[in-house]
Assembly symmetry: C2
Homo-oligomer: 179 residues x 2
């Protein structure tokens, strides 16, 4: 959050949580990480976030144990940022927030979240109404809805158009497209 990042007077776990993930862009970074984004550049083009802010957020999230910085190739040295268990645990929050936004402020349906095992759309609490179980994040299938731009400009958005499980690593093809 802007300026004083903390809520010193608050004895409240909501306030503690907001001190960590309440700053601008932070939750969108976590959302993208859930969608499978892992690389600095992919976050950058997909979010349209200033580079400096992205670097700061990745560092904070790593320091707080929400992301883990991990070298995935030696030469040239390249790191990726992967959600930890603590980060994955933000899924119910993001789901609830997205649901609220959709019900109250979005007209068209942008994405569906389904139980990968049976294809049923998740219920309001992230459970599978058919199976009667809470669906673990890796078994959530994200499917684009009719409201989503079918031909977005950036390669990350394009890669996210394929139905995919949450957390499944994203690998956008290079940005070539001529017509």
């Amino acid at each position: 959050m802007a300026l004083g990042k903390d809520y010193a007077t608050q004895e409240c776990s909501i306030a503690r949580a907001l001190e960590i993930i309440g700053e601008r862009w932070t939750l969108l970074v976590v959302r993208d990480a859930l969608y499978g984004v892992r690389r600095y550049n992919d976050f950058l083009v997909h979010l349209g976030i200033p580079r400096a802010v992205l670097a700061a957020r990745l560092q904070t999230l790593t320091a707080e144990g929400i992301l883990e910085k991990r070298r995935y190739q030696q030469s040239p040295p390249r790191d990726e940022y992967v959600l930890t268990e603590r980060g994955i645990a933000l899924w119910p929050t993001l789901r609830a927030l997205g649901q609220w936004g959709r019900e109250h402020f979005t007209e068209a349906r942008l994405r569906y979240f389904r139980h990968a095992d049976c294809g049923t759309e998740l219920g309001p609490y992230g459970e599978c109404p058919a199976c009667g179980t809470v669906v673990p994040v890796e078994d959530v299938l994200m499917v684009p809805g009719p409201g989503l731009d079918p031909d977005p400009a950036d390669p990350v958005s394009r890669a996210l158009l394929r139905p995919r499980r949450l957390l499944e690593p994203l690998d956008p093809e290079p940005a070539e497209r001529i017509g």
Copy 2:
């Protein structure tokens, strides 16, 4: 949020939601409203928020249909801010966020949320494990836990120490206390 409040490039209901409730303090105002706080001054002393920011947030939340400004006495004219249905619908989000904060960053137990009808503590998704139903917000009983300061300075925090249902209007006694 600071500066550009919007996330223009994002086709996402999470981003839409964050444009509205993602600014600093906003979610804490909504939390307090769920706890029963309704008056400007009560928000002020309980949150320790700058007056100008509080006024701005109340106005935005009212404009977005999350709070409703309502005159509760004519002379002197006094208004209170009450959650609308749209605001109450943020409860699952706040609950999930608080749960995450508690599990990952808070040591002591600050508050319990119970089903008022049977006294059972709510499960991870806001349901009552005993009754097997999702508990409506008005039937959630908030009970202070052992980690909470038993004698806080401000009268609002003191009034919130009593077990109480969510949304139940708060009426802090005037700030007298001598010992």
